[in-house]
């Protein structure tokens, strides 16, 4: 053991003498672990919330019996089904208002609740007694408690003057939900003897057919394999994961270069260790142990950074998840121990993977081969060939995935393969470019400039690859974001053509508001609308009723349309569908769809397809009169109002006064636009932040690579100094060289970035969100990025170059006096 410790101490002594190298290694590992685990923390947090939401007493994970008309039904059916062998448990549900906040009230019957309802809140035995016996309990999530500014034990009053049973904290519960005993819920919701649905347990026994017990009243709804939320948000999380993975890979590039360099430098030491009596196995064991120790230390630091990153990004992530999908994710990070463990494990695995080549070399280390510098040119050429071959293989994979892949994952696969291929090809391209420069050079110094640059490639290639990837992703993402912004703004203007949007509490109020509005002189038009819900191909779909009015005809943005599309909408046998729906169901203009409606299926011809960005649900737009004919129960409570923008504030104030409407019921166009833009900005803020992190990591990689190279390059520079170049001039040449290599890399990153952008827009977005944006190139953006890349290169090379410029002549002389 003492021997092992001594070997470890000897190995570690290298880092003491080369702290910059150690810093590089640690920074690489820390940033890899930090970004990866940060993103994982975000995903885990979100998934946890979906689970909570889904698991609320059989949310979407349990088969259910519901009334065909979707309404509540008598609880007698519950007893009848139980007596017929059905393992059902009743749930009553409704919305309640507490002090202006709206919450979902769920009444459950704990005694018949199926055991397998899932990871729903668990009550202890004394809790259950308290839950069931008067005054009962209201289970509530901590977030809800905080939102309502209430504490445990409070008995808040509802808007209908009923009083909730005392609040009881239940951390596993989803936010926004109040759970009480079904008996209490029926009273609170005014649904005596009524239930909203029956959860079906999976105990097997003889059951009478449902039809025989309940007639046509009930139907069984099978559970989804994954919840709607999970399905909807998958793409969002995949996006995050992809960025996390990218950062991880970039970080590992750094680790790989640091470990590789350290290994090369420690070769003589390893040989000496072997010669002085350390067996190969012992040496390798200690090398691995050293790496694991470093990985653990860096992993811990990385986890802390990851936590900070996640905590910083979570509010934005939560906001965009809420805005885009209506998913409630608490803004406070709570992490499980598994997360910490997984972070450490990933750090160790990453370190081992990055050091694999070096470790294998150590394993095969011949004691006797002299520790002389090997012919770098041959080795480099071999490497370049191998890398180029690998790159071509990756391109082939990308092409194959593009050809065959259908899923979002395949889309990201195309992206990953393309980028890795490009990264691997980079050194060859650089070598080729520098060779061209060398051939074209007339002057000796210039020729040396290119040749020496070429020699540096192997040392810098990993950092340059990281830079290439980071820049390409930056170009790709910013192009996509900019494209989206532009398209989205135009689209928003078209969609929100009216000036005020009003949503009445009921139809009576809607009628009153309409007649009141029509009597006002400043109102140019009142456009009533309605919205019904139905199902198409197993997914929920909204049916939107549009009035036949110029406001819509002139502004509503149609992507494709049949001739006279708006005219054909009026009779009620034609409709528009959203782009998402058309892609999902593979429908185009001229096709027919059967919309399930209460009075039987409604056969509608598709005469137009419109963009509906940001809506996870499919949508069908039809004439509003036709909608109320086919969906008679549709409340016509929504209306759009056209007026002069100058009149908007006074009109809203008057409306609010007259009908007691608040900000949720009457909104002006500008506010909706502002909110929509905010949601999207937040979504892309996360992407942007991760993007910036990645670029930063690439910059650090470049810096550390240059620093480690700086010492090794003295023997190359000293002769030049000796033949009469000043240190300043040498430093300048070094700077120029780094800049030219970085510039070539950045130039290569631009086309790659545009390919990335195309992949994001044409593959990833379509698969993830169901919409396709026009592909635009923004030259100003590209130029700006180019400058950023060069600045990053300057910043990275500044320190080593300054050191060179200020180096004592004695240090340069030593190159000649000391045999290395």
């Amino acid at each position: 053991m003492r021997r092992v410790l001594w070997i470890l101490a000897v190995l570690l002594s290298h880092w003491r003498r080369h702290p910059m190298q150690l810093a590089t290694l640690l920074i690489g590992l820390i940033s890899a672990t930090a970004l990866w685990s940060g993103v994982q923390a975000l995903n885990q947090q979100a998934r946890q919330s979906y689970d909570r939401a889904a698991a609320i007493f059989g949310g979407a994970r349990t088969p259910m019996l519901v009334a065909r008309d979707g309404k509540a039904f008598p609880q007698a059916l519950f007893a009848e089904l139980r007596r017929a062998g059905w393992p059902v448990s009743p749930v009553v549900e409704g919305r309640v208002q507490i002090d202006g906040h709206s919450a979902r009230l769920l009444g459950i019957e704990p005694i018949s609740l199926p055991v397998e309802v899932g990871n729903a809140p668990t009550l202890g035995r004394t809790d259950l007694e308290a839950f069931l016996t008067a005054p009962g309990q209201t289970l509530v999530a901590p977030e809800t408690l905080a939102d309502l500014e209430l504490k445990q034990g409070d008995t808040p009053r509802l808007s209908n003057d009923a009083t909730l049973p005392p609040l009881k904290l239940q951390p596993q519960l989803a936010p926004g939900v109040l759970v009480v005993d079904i008996g209490a819920a029926q009273q609170l919701l005014g649904k005596s003897d009524q239930i909203s649905r029956l959860l079906v347990g999976n105990s097997h026994g003889p059951r009478k057919p449902l039809q025989q017990v309940a007639g046509d009243r009930l139907m069984q709804v099978e559970p989804d394999a994954e919840t709607d939320l999970e399905r909807l948000t998958d793409s969002f999380h995949l996006n995050l994961t992809a960025f996390g993975l990218l950062s991880f890979v970039v970080g590992l590039f750094i680790v790989n270069s640091a470990v590789g360099l350290a290994f090369e430098q420690r070769l003589p030491m390893l040989r000496t260790l072997r010669a002085c009596g350390v067996s190969a196995r012992q040496l390798n064991t200690v090398l691995v142990a050293e790496l694991v120790v470093l990985a653990l230390a860096a992993g811990l630091a990385g986890l802390v950074c990851g936590y900070v990153i996640a905590a910083a990004l979570l509010p934005n992530v939560a906001a965009s998840l809420r805005g885009l999908y209506g998913a409630q994710v608490p803004g406070e990070l709570s992490l499980q121990p598994e997360w910490w463990l997984a972070g450490l494990v990933i750090s160790i695995i990453g370190a081992l993977a990055a050091a694999a080549t070096s470790l294998i070399k150590a394993l095969r280390l011949p004691i006797l081969s002299s520790a002389q510098a090997y012919a770098w040119q041959d080795a480099q050429r071999r490497w370049l060939k191998l890398q180029s071959a690998l790159a071509l293989a990756f391109f082939a994979v990308a092409a194959l995935l593009l050809w065959l892949g259908q899923s979002l994952l395949a889309g990201f696969g195309v992206l990953a393969a393309l980028m890795l291929g490009a990264a691997l090809l980079l050194p060859s391209i650089l070598e080729f470019a520098l060779r061209l420069g060398e051939r074209g050079a007339r002057q000796a110094l210039v020729q040396w400039f290119w040749a020496d640059g070429r020699q540096q490639i192997s040392g810098l290639s990993l950092a340059l690859m990281a830079l290439l990837l980071a820049l390409a992703v930056n170009v790709g993402v910013s192009t996509m974001v900019e494209t989206f912004n532009r398209t989205f703004l135009v689209w928003l203007d078209g969609r929100l053509a009216a000036d005020i949007y009003v949503s009445a509490a009921d139809e009576a109020q809607a009628r009153a508001i309409q007649s009141w509005l029509r009597a006002r002189p400043e109102v140019e038009a009142v456009l009533p609308g309605g919205r019904a819900e139905t199902q198409l191909a197993g997914a929920p779909v909204d049916v939107l009723g549009l009035p036949d009015h110029a406001t819509y005809r002139d502004h509503w943005p149609l992507l494709q349309s049949a001739p006279d599309a708006w005219k054909r909408l009026v009779p009620g046998d034609a409709g528009f569908i959203s782009e998402q729906l058309s892609r999902r169901l593979n429908l185009s203009v001229g096709d027919y769809i059967d919309i399930p409606a209460p009075g039987g299926d409604w056969d509608v011809e598709i005469v137009g397809i419109y963009a509906d960005y940001g809506n996870p649900k499919g949508q069908i737009a039809v004439n509003v009169a036709a909608l109320t004919r086919r969906f008679p129960a549709t409340p016509l409570t929504r209306m759009a109002v056209r007026t002069d923008p100058a009149n908007v504030p006074t009109l809203i104030a008057a409306l609010s006064n007259q009908f007691g409407l608040d900000g949720r019921n009457v909104v002006d166009q500008a506010s909706i636009k502002r909110e929509s833009k905010q949601i999207f900005n937040r979504t892309f803020a996360v992407t942007g932040a991760l993007n910036a992190f990645t670029l930063g990591v690439a910059g650090v990689a470049l810096l550390t690579s240059l620093l480690t190279l700086a010492n090794a390059r003295l023997p190359q520079l000293a002769p030049l100094w000796a033949i009469g170049l000043t240190r300043r001039r040498l430093a300048l040449i070094e700077l120029l060289k780094t800049l030219s290599v970085a510039a070539i890399t950045a130039l290569l990153a631009l086309p790659l970035g545009l390919v990335v952008a195309w992949c994001l827009i044409a593959i990833v977005n379509v698969k993830a969100f169901g919409w396709r944006l026009p592909f635009d190139v923004f030259p100003l953006h590209l130029i700006r990025l180019l400058i950023v890349a060069l600045l990053a290169a300057v910043a990275a090379s500044l320190l080593p170059v300054l050191r060179l410029a200020r180096m004592q002549p004695a240090d340069l002389v030593r190159v000649f006096t000391i045999e290395r």
Binding site: A84, I111, L113, T122, L123, L128, E129, T133
Partner: protein, 361 residues
């Protein structure tokens, strides 16, 4: 007085293993709960006039009540079987009955089927007020989900016959028709059954003369069976004294047609023993605490429970001396309130079959 039973319902609530202990008395050995105060509930007093069919129905003002059927059966090959069908009612609080889910009655049911090499059990729980479980006196019906004990228009109020009982679980099921031609038998002092020297008592009547016929299946293997069955009806608000830990109870069908019910309440200072001798003609003769000697002769260990499954029973006044043997010594009811209940046979001065129940071990 078949046993039990504080209704200590145990229920995995929402996927957990949480227990539903509706009474403060919910303990692992929950029978002790029967000795709690009866505050607010109706009291058991001597001199009650039993009225049928009304008394076949529930008595919600009392805290606990049960409908308890056991049957000793054989198939054509002579193999012995036993089965149990039990519905328990417990009121979580006294007072007027709540409507719908606000009802305070809680229901629990046990079903079991026993043969020499196997003992299967199942239990169910339900809240009262919504029709998932309950009892109606006329035409008689007691049910919880799809388990039931149901009479018809033909059912006679005095004998509570004929009726059908049925229950099914994942690995056993049964359906029996029960018939009887003698009226129910009032236990103790005209239906007032003492449980200790301190006044603890219950209302208790039985129908020990059921002739049973039907089928019984273990897994999916069904057999035709016939034999004798015994119904116990008992309700009370406080049947156990505070120092009583459980009881040993016998219901015996003599081959000669007589019936014998015996129980021994185990308490700290000397056990309280009681019983009823029922002649083949249906006439009942209460047996006082002094004339009965019950001695365990053999115990089995099931988990941490030591259970006296074989007994020596002597009633000198009736010249009865019996040795009882269980059909399956491992007739353990692994329900939320666990106890031992299984078919037995006896030899000695007389021979026959019956049921033994051991609680509080």
């Amino acid at each position: 007085m078949s046993a039990s039973r504080t209704i200590i319902t145990r229920r995995a609530f929402a996927g957990g293993a949480a227990l539903l202990g509706l009474m403060r008395s919910a303990r692992a050995q929950g029978f002790a709960g029967l000795s709690e105060d009866a505050d607010g509930f109706a009291q058991v007093l001597p001199g009650k006039d039993f009225v049928f069919p009304a008394d076949h129905g529930p008595h919600p003002d009392f805290r606990i009540e049960w409908w308890y059927v056991t049957a000793n059966l054989t198939d054509v090959a002579g193999n012995a079987y036993g089965l149990q069908w039990t519905l328990f009612r417990q009121a979580a609080r006294p007072g007027p009955q709540g409507e719908g889910f606000a009802n305070q009655q809680l229901w629990m049911a046990h079903a079991a089927a026993t043969r020499a090499d196997s003992h299967r059990t199942a239990e169910k729980f339900a809240r009262g007020g919504v029709g998932q479980a309950g009892v109606v006196d006329k035409p008689f019906q007691a049910w919880i989900d799809d388990w039931q004990m149901a009479g018809s228009d033909r059912t006679d109020d005095a004998s509570l016959a004929p009726i059908e009982i049925a229950a099914s679980a994942s690995n056993f099921a049964y359906a029996l028709s029960l018939e009887a031609d003698r009226p129910v038998v009032l236990q103790g002092d005209h239906g007032y059954s003492r449980k200790s020297e301190h006044g603890q008592a219950s209302y208790y009547y039985s129908q020990p003369f059921y002739r049973a016929r039907g089928h019984l299946s273990f897994d999916d293997h069904s057999v035709e069976v016939s034999g004798s069955a015994w119904l116990d009806r008992e309700w009370s608000s406080q049947p156990l004294a505070s120092d009583q830990s459980g009881w040993d109870w016998f219901a015996l069908h003599f081959a000669s047609g007589e019936k014998l019910m015996l129980y021994r309440m185990r308490q700290r200072s000397g056990n309280y023993t009681s019983g009823t001798w029922i002649g083949a003609d249906g006439r009942a003769r209460p047996l006082g605490p002094d004339g009965i000697v019950m001695t365990p002769t053999q115990t089995v260990e099931i988990g941490s429970h030591k259970l006296p499954v074989s007994w020596r029973v002597d009633i000198p006044a009736l010249s009865i001396g019996l040795a009882t043997t269980p059909l399956n010594p491992r007739s353990w009811m692994a329900t939320s309130v666990p106890y031992w209940e299984g078919p037995i046979s006896f030899t000695g001065s007389h021979q026959g079959v019956g049921y033994l129940e051991l609680t509080g071990y």
